[in-house]
């Protein structure tokens, strides 16, 4: 026999532990220490039946803690002092006596503290703590009802088994229903108390200017920049377009607002739809797949050079859909001269190279000459020991011969312009790791990249990635796209992505989307296509025999079924509900005074009570008797109700 009280206390301590654990990285170390010390004091008191912290001392301490909170808290510093206060209240309750109402308070405080931890972190681990807390609190509340009903109650092992099975059902079903309620609970367009939520801190973003060395800082930043849900694309198609830099001033490339309209040169075969989930950024440029056709799901503006810009600046994660053609390009319609500007103070060496390239007859020839020049220079792709002088590009091409993507792109575009070919820089990302489990690309900040777009003889912008001309480009550039992540990493990242996509970003818009989707599905039901459901129907048809076999295995033996029917019939006829186990078959037959009943019982008893199975003939005969008994009207069962009552 195990008492309820002890188990209830254990559950309360565990709930307190689960509540404090997610707070550890965010609160002062002395708070968890106080909670642990209070827990130890409480445990000692539970075992000895004597508590050091009395009710009055606890109240006095609670008031002191409250005053301390009032002194510390302000609108800008509210969450942490509040959580500290809740933890101290929890400690007081842990250290003291644990009457039923105190245990209830412990569960309540633990739940509120866990809820408050969501004001500090939006980590996926919260889900684990939440599930554990729901299990502990539900089990605790159920046991508390036992404890309140009878504090000295002790249950046998079998009774505990029955109770635990039922307790296990409660949190399981609660968690399933949680998904339903999470979707339908009302949400507001703009939260009133948004200041209480953890604010994502945007540290990275696309700059509207690039100069040698400005992208290098990102080379070691492995923070996720964005995730893109799409099918897997060819490695050379993974150019994620962000910003176009069209104006060169000294060594710095900038974006000029005056951009003329470009006409799309379609490539229908490479059209694809993608969903982007971008981390918070400090700029408003939206990353898309090069070349984007359309962006949906976010208020934005589209420039003539396919640069997308969000209308609102937000520090929250973004999600939007993009329709793009990765083999597509655009045709310039006027204003080409804007892409030919170069600085005046160019060195002789650069001019000499440009003159040589200018000898090419057309775009392809000039490009081939320039490519050959880059290859001859034996340039290497590296984020370290880069030239940072005033003439960094010249130093890169002729002296150090080491550079990062912006060195390659800047010098290539400059030489193209000097050779009379309109060109510009495009900033974005290159490559990404495809997560097979989640079906999306993960692109880190380290994949930030600059490449070149040049106008060919037909006035079409062509993508050129000069970084691929580096002698070590195969290892340096294709590293991301060819990188295969482990299954564990893929599962963890897919879980994080799903957590962010399905839970953290779920808002009023998505709620409306779900409703629309449901209505859409309902409309689709009207146009039911049986052929589409054929595989499912076959699957279910395959399951049917299994279900039938399961039911067949679970059915009672045929003599048990017979006797159950007989007893149910007798219960109805003799008005005994239910027939207790102490009334035997022979007694029932005697009470009924019905010859058919006596025949049934004697036939049944002759077989079953002598440890012999019913043969088929006996079984059929018993069934026939039962059928006849059921057909008999009740008043012909042999006696009046009065007689039955007297006998009973």
């Amino acid at each position: 026999m195990v008492g309820v009280e002890r188990i209830l206390q254990i559950l309360a301590y565990l709930a307190a532990l689960i509540a404090v654990l997610p707070l550890l990285p965010f609160i002062s170390v002395w708070i968890p220490m106080i909670v642990v010390a209070a827990g130890c004091l409480g445990l000692r008191g539970d075992f000895q039946g004597r508590y050091l912290l009395g009710q009055r001392s606890a109240t006095l301490l609670a008031m002191i803690f409250m005053l301390q909170f009032v002194a510390q808290a302000s609108l800008s510093n509210l969450v942490v002092p509040l959580i500290n206060l809740l933890c101290l209240f929890l400690a007081l309750r842990l250290a003291g006596e644990k009457l039923p109402r105190h245990i209830l308070q412990l569960f309540l405080l633990s739940t509120i503290i866990l809820a408050a931890s969501s004001m500090l972190s939006l980590n996926l681990s919260y889900l684990l703590y939440l599930i554990l807390m729901i299990m502990l609190v539900t089990a605790g509340l159920v046991l508390l009802s036992f404890y309140t009903t009878d504090s000295r109650l002790k249950l046998s092992r079998r009774e505990w088994g029955l109770l635990l099975k039922t307790i296990a059902v409660l949190p399981s079903v609660s968690l399933i229903l949680m998904l339903f309620f999470f979707i339908i609970l009302p949400r507001t367009q703009t939260p009133l108390w948004n200041f209480l939520n953890p604010q994502p801190v945007a540290q990275t973003g696309m700059s509207d200017q690039v100069k040698p060395g400005s992208v290098t800082d990102l080379a070691t930043n492995e923070q996720p920049a964005f995730r893109v849900e799409s099918e897997q694309l060819p490695d050379d198609a993974l150019y994620w377009r962000g910003i176009v830099l069209n104006k060169l001033e000294g060594q710095t490339w900038r974006r000029s607002g005056a951009v003329s309209k470009e006409e799309m040169v379609p490539d229908e075969g490479s059209e694809i739809e993608l969903t982007f989930y971008a981390e918070p950024k400090i700029d408003r440029f939206l990353v898309t797949l090069d070349r984007p056709i359309e962006v949906q799901g976010i208020h934005h503006s589209q420039a003539g050079d396919s640069v997308m810009e969000s209308r609102l600046k937000t520090s929250q994660p973004l999600s939007y859909k993009v329709r793009a053609q990765y083999r597509g390009s655009s045709r310039q319609s006027g204003g080409e001269h804007r892409y030919l500007g170069v600085p005046d103070d160019l060195s002789g060496r650069l001019k000499a190279v440009a003159e040589k390239i200018s000898e090419g007859e057309n775009f392809s020839a000039k490009r081939a000459l320039l490519d050959r020049f880059f290859q001859q220079q034996q340039l290497s792709y590296s984020p370290t020991r880069l030239p940072q002088t005033e003439r960094a590009l010249e130093a890169f091409l002729f002296e150090s011969r080491r550079g990062y993507c912006e060195y390659f792109a800047s010098s290539y575009a400059l030489l193209l312009r000097m050779a009379g070919i309109p060109s510009r820089l495009v900033g974005g990302y290159l490559g990404g790791t495809y997560n097979q489990i989640g079906g999306y690309y993960l692109v880190n900040e380290s994949a930030a990249h600059i490449w070149v777009e040049a106008l060919d003889d037909d006035g079409v912008w062509r993508r050129i990635d000069p970084s691929r001309l580096a002698i070590n480009s195969a290892e340096a550039l294709n590293l991301n796209s060819r990188n295969r992540i482990s299954v564990f990493t893929a599962v963890v990242d897919a879980a994080l992505h799903s957590w962010s996509r399905l839970v953290l970003n779920y808002d009023l818009h998505q709620q409306i989307g779900v409703v629309r989707n449901l209505f859409g599905k309902a409309r689709q039901l009207k146009e039911f296509d049986a052929r589409a459901w054929q595989p499912s129907a076959w699957f279910l048809a395959g399951l049917l025999p299994l279900g039938a076999w399961w039911l067949w295995k679970r059915r009672a033996a045929r003599h048990v079924r017979l006797i159950n029917s007989f007893r149910a019939l007798m219960a109805k006829r003799l008005e005994i509900q239910p027939i207790g186990a102490e009334i035997g078959l022979y007694e029932l037959a005697q009470r009924s005074r019905n010859p058919l009943c006596r025949t049934f019982v004697s036939l049944y008893g002759a077989a079953v009570y002598q440890d012999r199975a019913l043969n088929n003939a006996e079984y059929r005969q018993l069934r026939r008797i039962l059928r006849d008994l059921k057909r008999q009207p009740q008043n012909k069962s042999g006696r009046s109700k009065k007689a039955i009552r007297l006998k009973a």
Binding site: T111, I112, L114, A115, S118, M119, L122, Y126, L127, L130, I134, T138, L141, V142, L144, S145, F146, T148, T149, D150, L153, L155, R158, E159, L162, L163, T166, V169, L170, P171, V173, S174, L175, I176, L177, M178, L179, F180, F181, F182, L185, P186, R187, T188, T190, P191, L192, W193, N194, L196, N197, V503, L504, Y506, D507, Q577, P578, G580, A581
Partner: protein, 273 residues
């Protein structure tokens, strides 16, 4: 409520998750609580020691007719009496005693029996009135009395020897031991002279039969019935054969539990049929 308010106002989806989980728990606990009182049946069992105006107890049997779900924390109440069934497995029954004091003899109706339970959480208590027969047979309140005329009152039971097998009469025969024989019936001296155990067979001692006549007692009808009820219980406890004469009805003397119940039933229902 507090968490829901915080969730809506902050738009924090983690708070929404917690609130959703608790809504789910409330829904499922409501359903389980409602199911906990379903398909329970109650039977009031016949009592053989329930006397009018004296504290007694009624045995009730609670049956869980459900197939899967056990019943938890079922409180049975009738008037001021209550009893708790903590756990009742599906398909099982259990019995509890409810203390009662019935005011009168005869067939009496027990107060309505209600079951209630705070399971699964002690925030709400659900209750249900149990249908079914609650009729009880209450015997007359026993009133201490001597036999009319004082005959046989304090005499021991062993007065008549019956020619039936027993353990306290004269020796009938010596037989071989059988498994059903009590060990104390083994005649050790005789057994020592034979290859097997020998036992003594004895006659049974009986007492002279008594016929209680209600009219021979003095007092009001209820007092006379009470005296008869007292004597019936006492004399049968002394293993005497007791009969009863009520007006023109005579119940032959006999002893044993069944006779006691028969006589007390007649006394309980006297003039109340």
């Amino acid at each position: 409520m507090l968490l829901g308010f915080a969730a809506v106002n902050t738009g924090n989806n983690l708070l929404y998750l917690m609130v959703s989980a608790f809504f789910g728990f409330m829904a499922v606990s409501g359903l389980v609580g409602q199911q906990n009182l379903r398909k329970l049946s109650l039977r009031v069992l016949a009592a053989d020691d329930l006397f009018a105006q004296l504290p007694g107890r009624v045995e009730v049997e609670l049956t869980n007719q459900r197939r899967w779900l056990p019943a938890f924390l079922i409180n049975l109440t009738s008037g001021d009496a209550s009893a708790l069934v903590a756990v009742l497995a599906p398909g099982q029954s259990c019995r509890r005693f409810l203390p009662v004091v019935m005011p009168e003899r005869g067939y009496q109706q027990l107060s309505a029996i209600q079951i209630y339970s705070c399971f699964p959480i002690n925030f709400f208590v659900r209750s249900r009135l149990m249908p079914g027969k609650r009729r009880l047979l209450v015997f007359p309140r026993p009133i201490s009395s001597a036999l009319p005329g004082g005959q046989y009152q304090d005499q021991p039971a062993r007065q008549l020897e019956l020619s039936q097998p027993g353990i306290d009469g004269e020796l009938r025969s010596i037989d071989s031991y059988r498994q059903s024989d009590p060990l104390k019936s083994i005649h050790w001296k005789l057994s020592a002279r034979h290859d097997d155990f020998r036992v003594k067979r004895q006659n049974q001692l009986g007492a002279p039969s008594l016929l209680l006549n209600l009219d021979e007692f003095s007092g009001s009808l209820e007092e006379r019935l009470g005296m008869c009820a007292y004597l019936v219980s006492r004399l049968i406890a002394q293993q005497r054969a007791v009969g009863l004469k009520l007006d023109h009805q005579i119940i032959d003397p006999a002893s044993g539990r069944q006779q006691r119940l028969k006589l007390l039933t007649e006394l309980a229902l006297y003039g109340r049929r």
